[in-house]
Symmetry: C2
Subunit: 462 residues, 2 copies
């Protein structure tokens, strides 16, 4: 084991300069969704290339049809060291409504808010502060040791907030250059202020839109009601049939590939003390609504769902119209876990619907994307090393968590580059990413840098 204390001390001592660099990057309004900020996006990429080059990386800006990518390489001290691809994004969300900001989103500062020192500004948490924790960790490590413990490739994109249109083609075209032993992704949150977290399970997603057509026009319910098929009735019956009385999804084969979460992981989740009351209470609810007999963390991290995200049919304006609609439609998503196959889930759903459509009615389906779940091994060496390193830095041991949503980049790395991702981040749930008054705790930044120093070192040692 390396003696990390001089490197950690260096990081502590250099914190003011680390902050200055974060401020510099935040001052560049790199809003990727708004064409007016195209030059600023490029400027943020160029700023990163320069910083990485100054640090000794072989760094370059790579053009894409959209905003450019930053790619940088650095060798390791030892030839046989592992190779990590670090991913982050330099683009940020728009800032409107601007009048709701207490501070200028692009003039970062240190403020005390709710008893904590925080760095204010758009992108401080998502993702400029987070990605710089890694860069500054490399800087401190190199300043003390003259080298890095693992071989590092860096990939920063500038289109994450606008759906990453250039990412897949770029990964495909540069697979050989970008492929590493594993990826490090710093775009997630801590469990709480004292407890770092590594996300090891991300649910997949299947999106479907279904439209049922009955009569060839809207009908008067007085003239036709009781005899003519009502597509809203057909649709609501189908949607109601999607769940049984215990909250399980009824699609044939839906649970193929769904495994029970290991007992020790479930026990660690239970120890987090997240009750139905505390989790649902924040949004005005109290009773878990999904599969019976499972905790809210298991329901949202490790169980698949069928969820109606939108439904419309007939007259929905003010007042009343006695109409029997010609059409009714719904948008439905399935969250997937384990090895559930998106294509099979989609087909099972479509067959389920088709079998319930009367012979004189018709149904159309529209696909809205599909991706499998990401399930990393709960006891891989990379994950175990990172967990121990984080536990050394923070007041409480790191927890291995799931995430109810999807992070597409993780699936892309797995599918296109054949590597798993380690998801570590130092954001907090109150960082207000995507909202006015985004902030990043000074502690997240400082201890984030220190965390990466520890993780990099741990990854280099077997």
């Amino acid at each position: 084991m390396t003696d990390l204390s001089p490197i950690l001390a260096k990081a502590d001592e250099a914190l003011p300069q680390c902050l200055e660099r974060l401020f510099d990057l935040v001052r560049i309004p790199s809003i990727s969704t708004d064409p007016a900020y195209k030059a600023d996006c490029r400027k943020a990429g160029e700023w990163l290339v320069k910083e990485l080059a100054d640090l000794g990386f072989d760094a370059s800006l790579r053009d894409t049809p959209g905003h450019p990518m930053v790619v940088a390489h650095h060798a390791a001290e030892r030839e046989d060291a592992p190779h990590a691809l670090f991913y982050g994004h330099y683009d940020v969300q728009p800032v409107d409504p601007l009048n709701l900001w207490e501070d200028d989103p692009f003039a970062p500062a240190i403020k005390t808010k709710e008893g904590h020192e925080v760095i204010t500004g758009r992108g401080t948490s998502d993702d400029k502060g987070q990605l710089l924790t890694f860069v500054e960790a490399c800087r401190a490590y190199k300043a003390v040791k003259g080298s890095l413990p693992v071989k590092i490739t860096i990939l920063f994109e500038g289109e994450e907030e606008s759906g990453s249109p250039s990412l897949k083609p770029f990964l495909e075209a540069n697979a050989a250059e970008l492929k590493a032993d594993f990826a490090l992704v710093c775009d997630t949150s801590m469990w709480d202020r004292e407890t770092p977290a590594i996300a090891a399970a991300l649910r997949g997603l299947v999106g479907e839109e279904v439209t049922i057509t009955a009569a060839d026009r809207d009908l008067h319910s007085g003239l036709f009601g009781g005899a003519a098929a009502n597509p809203v009735h057909i649709l609501t019956k189908i949607l109601a049939d999607l769940h049984d009385e215990t909250g399980k999804v009824t699609l044939p084969g839906f649970y193929d590939g769904v495994e029970e979460t290991p007992a020790n992981i479930k026990a660690s989740w239970e120890s987090l003390g997240r009750t139905a009351e505390s989790f649902l209470g924040e949004v005005g609810l109290s009773i878990p609504s999904g599969e019976q007999g499972r905790s809210v963390l298991e329901l949202t991290w490790a169980r698949p769902t069928a969820e109606v995200n939108g439904i419309i049919g007939g007259y929905t304006g003010e007042g009343f119209k006695t109409v029997i609609a010609a059409k009714a439609s719904a948008k439905i998503s399935f969250r997937l876990v384990g090895t559930q196959d998106p294509a099979k889930v989609r087909e099972s759903f479509r067959a389920f619907v088709r079998s319930r459509i009367p012979a004189d009615c018709s149904v159309d389906f529209h696909e809205h994307g599909g991706s499998p779940a990401i399930q990393l091994s709960y006891d891989s060496p990379v994950l175990t090393k990172a967990k121990n390193a984080l536990s050394d830095e923070w007041p409480k041991p790191a927890v291995i968590i799931g995430m109810g949503g999807s992070i597409p980049i993780v699936g892309d790395f797995q599918k296109m580059l054949g590597m798993d991702s380690l998801l570590v981040g130092f954001g907090l749930t109150d960082d207000r990413i995507h909202s006015p008054n985004e902030k990043y705790d000074l502690n997240s930044y400082h201890k984030g840098i220190r965390s990466w120093i520890r993780i990099l070192d741990a990854l280099a040692n077997s």
Copy 2:
């Protein structure tokens, strides 16, 4: 029995003048919904007052907060003759989109369309042509006999197409003047070109809007899906539960007051030859969807329904949003028959919904009107006399039919003036009322006049 042949001959001979008068009335653009035509509405009322006064009626225009009413009285030849209130409306629907009209809507003419001589123009069928069949019948009767066989009160309103806001207060304020033994309403259709019809059953209506609220905001389905209540799921389950496998409505007590249609009436409906294929085929359907084992005429005329007229919840725009909505809502109507009680149906529905709402969710209801069904005796003397009179005039015997929708005036006459209505009309289903190219068959007008001559006479005789 009176010898009607000279009166009928008079009507035949006077047809050109009858048409001139209808043309005069149609030329007045009495669109009640558009304030720009306020003076024209009054003009139409004044025109009718003058015609009725010329005919010997004690006729007057009565102001209301909206468009004026026409009220007219005429004594009968015999003191003990029955007293009928004849109702019609002189206002018409708007004409837009004007470019879809083949002829000027306010320049009536006789044209041949699809092999039939028709009178073109807005209001020719709904309801100026229809109401004049009655006035012209009185004219012919009086021209030959010097008197009328029944005592007649006439009520023409000018707000039927805009919801009749002044009607109820007017009936209330003038109940003693308007009360008769029965009402004659000429605002309905023939069964087909050869078969006159009398509507004896009109379904009632209860309108309800239900809104279910779960969380206090829209939720991300990745973060909360599987644990948080989805109001669309709750709503679709409730709506699906409203019908059982046989198409019956499951609300407790819903069928209280619903009686089986008499066998002879059902047999007469079956003889009309209206099959599921012919009825539903017109709108692209073929399979009756309501209660099993009943004909489409029975389903739409004599059976109650629960129908979802609109539903909305979550994201319904282009693309996809993985949202769990905070709210979902639906508009539901119940068509009522027999003596079903609108208030009880509403309460049963609300109790049914409330019992299915999870404890941490809430529900709001909004009332959209309610009226009971109108069920006239299938063998009352008035109905039997009118049926025989119509059968004498037309190629095929008159049929007693039901109507799936409601005609509010009939309920008002029953409730406020304590009298039943005889619904006879000579419109055809292809008259395109409320649409561009409205027309009234010349045959409807001519034989409509002759029909009323026969009915008036029949009503006077016991």
